[in-house]
Every structure is written in C-alpha cells, then in structure tokens.
Amino acid sequence: MKIVVLAKQVPDTWSDRKLDLETGMLDRAVSEPVPDEISERTMEVALQFKDAHADTEVVAVSMGPEDATKTLRKMLSMGADSAVLVTDPVLAGSDVVQTAQVLAAAVERIGADLVLAGDQATDGRGGVVPAMIAELRGIPVLPSVDHVEISASEVSGVVQAESGALSVAAPLPAVACVTEKAAEPRFPNFKNIMAAKKKPLESWSLSDLGIQAGPEQASVRSVMVSAQARPEKQAGPKVTDDGTAAAQLVEFLAAQRLV
C-alpha cells in the first residue's frame, strides 16, 4: 500500500502570527515556519499502519516555498520513506483551488492508494483542500474523522455531525482527513533522524508535473479585499485573593451588568 501524507508548513502557533496589511497574506518574516501539528498527527496515523504492515510505503507531500523542505525533513525523520516538495515561484499567492490542483497532480504522479490529510490547517481553518483533491481525482473523501481504520481495501472512521456520529467508509483509493484526536505524534529518535538524511526528498516544479497553475493562470480565484489588525487590548485589574476577591469580582460583574 502506498500512502501519501499531505503535510503543510505553517507559521508557528506559539509565535505572534501577522498578516501583511498590504497584501492580506501571511507575513512570513515574523513567524518561524514549522510543520503544522495536524500534519505530524496525520503522519503518525500513516506510520502506525506502516508499523503493522511492513510493505507500506509512506510519501510525504507538500506544496510551498523552498524552505518547506524543513517540514518534509521532519516527516522523514518521523518515519516517512520519501518526500516530495512541489515548489515553483509562480505558485506564490495560490488560493485553495490552485493548491488543490497542484497537489492532485502530485498525488496522481505518485500513484497513491490512500491520501491522508489534516482536517484543517492552523493557518487558515479552511479545511477544503483535501476534498477538492478528492473531487479532482474522482475519488471519495472522508472528512474530519476522529479515528481512522485502514485496511487493504478501505478506509473508515467517524465524523461528528449534528445529526449524530456518522460511521463512514470508502473503498480505496480515497482521501481521508484526520482530526487532532486521531493520534499523538511520535518524536523522531536519533536513529531515524540520521536515516532521514539519506532518504529521497525530491523537489518538483510545475513543468515536472506538466501542469499550469498559480494565481496568474486561474480564471476563477479568491482574492483578499482588505486586512486590519485588531486594536491592542489593555488588561484590567488583577487582585490577589485575600478572602475578598470573590466580592470584588462579583462587584465588577454587577457593574458591567453581567450578573
């Protein structure tokens, strides 16, 4: 079985992430780019299957700037067999449809039985790219499953919907998106970090994929209209409890008409 794990590089959620107010895009200069936590969890799901089924090949795939190799190296050191970065200057500023087209082309070239993705990236909370890839490839998608079961012929899981917990399944090939409940990512050990240095990490351009994409190519696209920073917030009083804090807090709530 060949599993593609879609891994995204995002600004570190531990940092103060910023938007460039001119372009409405991420200000890459202010935050450290890191593998998205959900991508590490996704890789863990793939590796647990590989641990139990030795004939499994796990390929980490990312589309992003050249420095997204950092994320792919992390995936290799966790245990992926190989990695592919699709990177091309014309892809800068791609919207979700463009991103999905590129990733779908990469998935096709690799020839995956199963594509695993995170349900939502932490930089945008979009969560639509994997479903677009599924539609482009003409295969089913399992959206936001808490636990994933993988077998030789199908993938299944449970989606939390308002109507109830839906047990869903799809025959392979398919795309499945996992939530942060799916798995706790392992820490790469020294041996794997060393081994990762010898694993193949390829970089593909659009001409390697034989497609055209990116904002200039798109006839339909989403565009940013404006961006604004929220005004700084001032903290209010902070009292240390000496037995009267509860009374002061209730006074405060009453003054604000909150009780």
Partner: protein
Amino acid sequence: MTEQNEQNRQSTASAAPILVLVEAVADGRPSSMAAELLGAASLVGVPVAVVTAAPGAGQGVAEQLGALGATQVLVAESEQAGAQLGSVQVAALAAGVGQFSPEAVLVPNTPESRAVAGRLAVRVNGAVCADAVGLRWADEEVIAQHSVFGGDFTSESTVEGGPRIITVRPGSISQRAQPVQAPQIHTATLELSQGAAGAQIREVSEHAPAGDRPALRGAKTVVSGGRGLGSAEGFGLAEQLADVLGAAVGASRAAVDAGYAAPELQVGQTGVSVTPDLYVALGISGAIQHRAGMQTAKTIVAIDKDPDAPIFEIADFGVVGDAFEVVPAVIEQIQARRSG
C-alpha cells in the same frame, strides 16, 4: 486594498439570490446552522435554501425553512441522501448554481459540510472564501469577512471570475432573516451520475440529548475550565458556575486531553472559537492557542493560582487565587445578591 471608511460603509442587501446549504438532522429537521446561514444570506441578498432528503421526505423540512427566512427552497430528493456523505448536497448545490446564478453559496464550516464546499468549487469551477464570520454587500458583490489568527486580524475576501462559495463559521452570525409565509418550493429528483462518489454512511449513532445548558457556539456567556481544575470531578466547578450564570461550558485542550471535559467543549485554535459577552477562565494558563479561540470576548475574567499566567494579559478582571476557594464564594454571593 479597500480604505477603512469604505470597509465601514453600511452594507445593504441586494436582490440577488444567495444559496444556503441546509444540513438536515434526524427526522428531517434543519440543523441549528440553518437559521444562522439564512440570516447571513439576508445580509447580502435573498436567501434560497437547498436541502437534501430521502424521496418523498422533503416537503416537511422545506416548510420549516420558510419560518427561518428562505424565500425559495430547492429540495433535492435522492435514494442516496442518507447513504452517501455529501454527494447529494454537492449535486443539489451544483443544480442550484445553474438554476439561480447566485451571488454566493453559503455552506456551514462543519466537519460534515466543509468538504461539500470544496467538492462544489471543483464541480462548478468556483472558488472558496473559507471560514467567514460576517458578510457584506459592496460594489455589487458579496464580501466575506474573516477573523484571522485567533482574532488578531480581520480580513475580507471575495471571489472573482466564477461561483463564490463561502464557508461560514458556526455561531458567528447573529443576524436572523424575516420569516417567509409560503416559500416557493422546487422539488427535484437527483441522479448521482457526475463527479466523485462520497464516503458511504454505514451507521448514525445519535448523540445523547444535550442538557439544558446553552450551546457553546454563539453563547452569550461561557465558563471554561482548564487543567488547573485537576480532575473530572473538579471540572464540575466550571459547570456549577456556568449554571449560576446561565452560561455554556468550555474547556482548554489540556482539560479535554486529560478527560475532564468532552472534546466538543474545547475552545481555541483547534477547537471552537467564541465571542461571548463574558468569558470566565478557571485554571487556564492562557496559552496562545487557547487565547486564539476566546480573546475576542467582550469581557474576560480569569481565576488562576499563578500570578504570571498569560491569561491575565488579556483579562478585564483577574483573580490570583485558588479556584476552589474563589468560585464557591462567587456563587454564594451571586445567589445572595439575587435573593436580596
């Protein structure tokens, strides 16, 4: 870039149709997001609901949607409605795009439906504005408003050149549409011949009925507990205060991971985002990812033992103390105030 004054310009709705995907829940009721999305649609145009149902089951839900503001309802009936996840919805919305040429298609940003938005964008050659928390009409088009990086920024986006598909964050829109007496109902039977198949739905296990507490999304008051409450039993402290305040209960990820609270109560970067009038944090340090889900609350109160906990940086009122001493006293005094 739009100038600030333009951004604040009053948006007036157009006469353009806005398609709204309605999730149907058990016994054909519309989901709780239906009122919210129809309300959102009424901000920028005329709401047209799209709902899927098993053959013969559509009429009932269509009638309920008028009361929520749908002027027209497109009912897509299919044998596959309860059997395949999302496929009937994608086909129905694609048909609706053809029939109504809407200015926008609104889809709930829920685990169940956001994939529908993605698949639809590919099917009808559109693009997506993801996770909108507001909508406005300007320069003859629908603009989606977003709260980015946990509310540190707001941004606006739109789609140029094709169908505009907007996913809407649950609990973010307070506007409600005017009820419509007798919405026009169009019933269509859909064949699923086009596009990718959806996942098969094998089983639906209904959630245990929610108690009397308000839902977390959209709640006016939220009381959240963190790892500092120490145990599932200790977490009861947050529930007690919530009940006194008529509040919804939330939790930090650490509290969820420790099993003190149910996963759907998680507030933050990867949980629910809330903007209540009052947010009370008990034993929550206020890690940046937690703040990302609640820092836009109007008033924030924090009770934490650690005077250096980052939650105090954004608290309008902070108490450095033991929640197990402070909270019972707070409850007692609120009750005394009410009876006095």
